[in-house]
């Protein structure tokens, strides 16, 4: 493998994967979860297992942990054949499954005790071990709290502490950072680094966040059950070195610019980043502005540092990658502007609160969204994004405050307001057992479309979202990206003026995400107001304006440029959205401490 030239095999590898394959049968279909995977995971470093949902990350983790047996191939972990001696491997490794494996009705201490018992940690060693883990995770003051009452970030740390009680030599962490706020994410990474440096633990960590690749010493990049490459993150980014640029063109809107650049020859990737468009070219030479942006004299092209995602996208779009062609062809047709984007306020929220008992899920939130705007709600799980959404869609009454959506007060005219709203719920609210066509028919009928109008809209959905070939397929069997398209089509059946997207791109691969955002941009251009929640920091860049939420409150409102500008300093000259978020939360904590 040419990518692994950097790897210096000093020690025996922690894990050896030798032509590992694994298939599952679901709904009468055979799904190849892993297709002939071979790799060596180095010991004493953090290896990132990186890829979108359905890449096979969890399956690979479970195979290494001895929870599954491969159909073909061999796995050796810590020198032990996993299939032959699973118990021996399980005694030597620590495994944290996706939901952390905590007993929510036991306290923090009881969870630790259980895992200490299971790993037969001697009683005399325990006080010191507990003290160390509690200090490391900052859970010391909470030992008597039930695990179910901890915040997402604390649960994640307790889950990690439980897997560490037995002092494992190899640590398998399955998506430990998903949906957790960026501060907790950084703390988790600090713990992991500490383990690697002080104890020499080998760590295999899977993640769907591509930016986390850069924190790993070694990366195994996976997509649809195959490895796309392995090596230090630098080897990936170096391949796209000199190919990333920032384009700023004051003459045209950022969306129009992005659309144009995405289809321009020589451009592999074009995404909106604040007020700019970030592009990756297919050659390591700055593009000629006269060629690329002939009619835009004020356009500026600046070279920027390559990112891991650039290399992933270019790998996916490389010749021979079949997926690329299908997605690249999917350029949505021009939608006629229904209403000119104006400054009519489509959503107005004033002092909105929602209580559950004495717990405020949303507290004193105010913002407004103009017609044709893409407005983002950014925050970790439990920040109050979904609760805010449900109130805006009239699914949940507000405890306090006023809400106007499409000119209707939701307290009095929720049903009328809802007729102007399209809602795409988390995890795509589709009827999995029904075919694509039947799902569309159902949603069309539910929105009151009949006869010719219904046929017309279904025809539109099938062709616009390229679902025709799948019209009679069960929607459960669709690939994730197509499920997402179908869910969006269903939400748009009645041509709503406002569309709410709740975590629409969770788990979808970068190309699927780009395809999705291209459609969203086209909708916004045609005057539809888009409101979106996300915990992907990077998606905040696609929004015109956004609010950052934490613990039910709004921490900041504005454009992504403004938010990043606030944290710009000598140490961080080019801050990311995540830097901005972390700074906000830390300020918030500091203020809270001051107030108290």
């Amino acid at each position: 493998m040419s990518d692994s030239t950097e790897i210096t095999t000093t020690a025996e590898p922690a894990i050896v994967l030798d032509s590992v394959s694994k298939s599952f049968v679901t709904g009468g279909r055979i799904v190849r979860a892993l297709d002939n995977i071979s790799a060596r995971i180095r010991s004493g470093v953090v290896t990132g297992l990186i890829g979108p949902d359905a890449a096979g990350k969890t399956t690979l983790m479970r195979l290494i942990a001895g929870l599954l047996v491969p159909d073909a191939g061999r796995i050796v972990a810590l020198g032990i054949d996993v299939a032959r001696e699973p118990l021996r491997v399980q005694g030597a490794l620590g495994y944290m499954p996706q939901r952390f494996g905590l007993y929510e009705d036991l306290t923090v201490q009881e969870n630790l005790d259980l895992y200490a018992d299971l790993h037969a940690v001697a009683l005399v060693e325990r006080p010191a071990r507990y003290a160390e883990l509690l200090k490391m995770t900052g859970l010391g003051p909470f030992t008597r709290r039930l695990a179910g009452r901890l915040s997402g970030g604390m649960k994640q740390k307790l889950g990690l502490a439980c897997t560490l009680v037995g002092s494992p030599r190899l640590l398998l962490l399955d998506e430990p950072t998903v949906g957790v706020d960026p501060v907790s994410r950084r703390e988790l990474w600090a713990i992991v680094y500490n383990l690697v440096e002080n104890r020499g633990t080998s760590v295999l960590l899977s993640t769907a966040y591509l930016d986390e690749a850069e924190r790993c010493a070694d990366v195994l990049l996976m997509h649809e059950g195959r490895t796309l490459g392995q090596g230090a993150p630098g080897t990936f980014t170096r391949r796209v070195a000199g190919r990333s640029f920032r384009v700023f063109a004051p003459d045209v809107g950022k969306r129009a610019l992005q659309k144009r650049l995405a289809t321009a020859p020589g451009v592999t990737d074009a995404i909106i980043q604040g007020a700019n468009v970030r592009i990756v070219t297919d050659k390591a030479a700055p593009p000629d502005p006269r060629e690329l942006l002939a009619d835009m004299p004020h356009a500026e092209i600046t070279a920027v540092a390559p990112r891991f995602e650039d290399s992933f996208v270019s790998l996916l779009k490389a010749p021979g990658a079949a997926i690329a062609a299908a997605v690249a062809a999917a350029v949505p047709r021009e939608a006629p502007a229904r209403k000119a984007p104006g400054d009519g306020e489509m959503i107005v929220v004033r002092n909105l609160s929602r209580r559950f008992g004495d717990f405020y899920a949303v507290r004193d939130v105010s913002f407004s969204v103009r017609r044709g705007e893409v407005f983002g709600l950014l925050g970790a799980n439990g920040a109050g994004k979904s609760t805010t959404f449900r109130m805006l869609c009239g699914l949940l009454p507000a405890s306090e405050g006023t809400l106007r959506v499409a000119g209707e007060d939701l307290r009095h005219a929720a049903a009328r307001a809802r007729a102007n709203i399209g809602y795409m719920a988390q995890k795509f609210s589709l009827y999995a057992e029904l075919s694509v066509l039947r799902n569309l028919r159902f949603f069309a009928a539910a929105y009151g479309l009949r006869a010719a109008r219904q046929r017309e809209r279904i025809e539109w959905a099938l062709s616009e979202f390229e679902l025709k070939p799948f019209a009679n397929a069960r929607s459960a069997d669709l690939p994730l990206g197509y499920k997402q398209r179908l869910a969006l089509a269903a939400a748009l059946m009645h041509e709503p003026e406002i569309i709410f997207l709740d975590e629409p791109t969770s788990g979808v691969d970068p190309l699927g995400r780009r395809d999705f955002w291209r459609r969203i941009n086209a909708l916004a251009e045609s005057g539809v107001t888009v409101m979106v929640t996300t915990h992907f920091m990077e998606e905040a860049e696609y929004c015109d304006r956004l609010v950052i939420m934490a613990q039910g409150r709004i921490l900041a409102e504005g454009t992504s440029e403004e938010m990043k500008a606030r944290v710009r300093s000598a140490e961080i000259p080019d801050p990311s959205m995540e830097d901005a978020f972390v700074a906000l939360i830390q300020n918030n904590l500091a203020n809270g401490a001051q107030a108290a």
């Binding site: 929870l67 118990l87 007993y103 009705d105 036991l106 790993h119 037969a120 439980c162």
Partner: protein, 374 residues
């Protein structure tokens, strides 16, 4: 080695016990459900016919008819209601105001003296077949008693069609509660044994904790045993509660020994836990686990165990199926221990059957359980 096994197992047991104590639903199934079921069956449901409304039609009243009608009034089983003619009585029966009609024709006294044969017409509402049969039996006994006393008063022999002398053994009071309540213990223990076990394992799958548990050095034996022991204790606790209620609240007699009762309960509980664990090897969410456990364990224990419905009266194919129902053997033991005493000829074969079933289900659950996800 043994110390590490003990440590792991102890940890698992402690965890399971804490969960039972913190989660109200297991306590509810083990202790509240038995109380609830016992109240329904102890007080609400009764298979005895008592104070049955009965229409009496007398065409020509005289001393004899008065005396016979009086016999019904004295009986605790009937509440006589007088009607002028049969048509009215029939109308009342159609409206279900009365369960039967006793019709004394105009020739009642004459025929009685002359022929010595019973000339009454009895009409019983057969809609509720079970009740009808009981009413019919009571009617006959009232009639026979009256005839005997009538003859004794007159010193004249009266020929009875059949001379029946009844004596009820084992449940002299003929209270249905006395055999329903012991049978109910089997149903209650099925609930705690099978339903609870299947559900708690499924809950671990749902919450992702089972996956974490599987990647620890704990063996599958330890994990399964840690589910068996606490729920065995819980199930025996439920049993003790039910027995205490049966004895002191409902006054059901216990003729056999408590030890025999406990031994049989322990065997049955093992079988129920085995079924629960077997369900848990494939049902990975609580909804499926609950449904499957209710359909394959609870309902058969309820309907096919002979607890309410007599197995001998079932059609042959159904009767064959009942041999597979563990509760059948347990109900047989329970009813004999409570109402008859330690009948070894009943206890031993049924206990062996329970032992075999428990061994079968526990063994099968062990064979199918893997420390793997596929």
């Amino acid at each position: 080695m043994i110390r590490t096994v003990a440590m792991r197992f102890g940890g698992l047991l402690r965890k399971e016990s804490l969960q039972i104590l913190r989660d109200p639903s297991s306590i509810a199934i083990a202790f509240v459900m038995p109380v609830f079921l016992l109240f329904i069956f102890g007080y609400g449901v009764s298979l005895d016919a008592k104070r049955v409304p009965l229409a009496i039609v007398v065409e020509q009243p005289n001393r004899d008819t008065q005396s016979f009608a009086g016999a019904f009034a004295q009986s605790q089983y009937f509440v006589p209601i007088h009607f002028r003619n049969v048509r009215q009585a029939e109308a009342a029966m159609k409206r279900r105001r009365v369960a039967g009609i006793v019709w004394m024709r105009a020739n009642f006294s004459r025929e009685l003296l002359a022929a010595g044969v019973a000339p009454i017409a009895v009409i019983v509402n057969g809609v509720d077949a079970n009740n009808a049969r009981i009413v019919e039996g009571y009617l006959q006994s009232v009639w026979a008693n009256w005839l005997t006393s009538y003859a004794r008063d007159r010193g004249a022999p009266i020929t009875l069609p059949v001379q029946v002398e009844q004596r009820v053994w084992f449940n002299p009071a003929v209270r249905s509660r006395d055999y329903l309540v012991p049978g109910l213990i089997a149903v209650i223990m099925t609930l705690t044994g099978a339903l609870l076990t299947a559900m708690v394992v499924a809950r671990e799958w749902e919450r992702g904790t089972m996956e974490a548990l599987m990647v620890t050095p704990a063996s599958i034996h330890e994990i399964m045993l840690s589910k068996l022991v606490p729920y065995f204790v819980l199930g025996m606790g439920g049993m003790a509660l039910s027995v205490a209620m049966a004895l002191w609240l409902f006054g059901v007699p216990l003729h056999g020994s408590l030890w025999v009762l406990m031994g049989a309960s322990a065997l049955f509980l093992m079988a129920a836990l085995g079924m629960g664990l077997l369900v848990s090897t494939f049902a990975r969410n609580q909804f499926v686990a609950g449904q499957v456990a209710i359909i394959v364990t609870f309902l058969p224990a309820f309907m096919l165990s002979g607890f309410i419905f007599d197995i001998r009266n079932m059609p042959a194919p159904i009767r064959t199926i009942t041999y597979l129902v563990a509760a059948r053997y347990f109900v047989a033991i329970l009813q004999s221990v409570f109402l008859a005493g330690n009948v070894w000829s009943i206890f031993i074969p049924n206990a062996i059957a329970l032992l075999l079933i428990a061994g079968f289900f526990l063994g099968l659950a062990r064979m199918l359980a893997r420390k793997r996800l596929d």
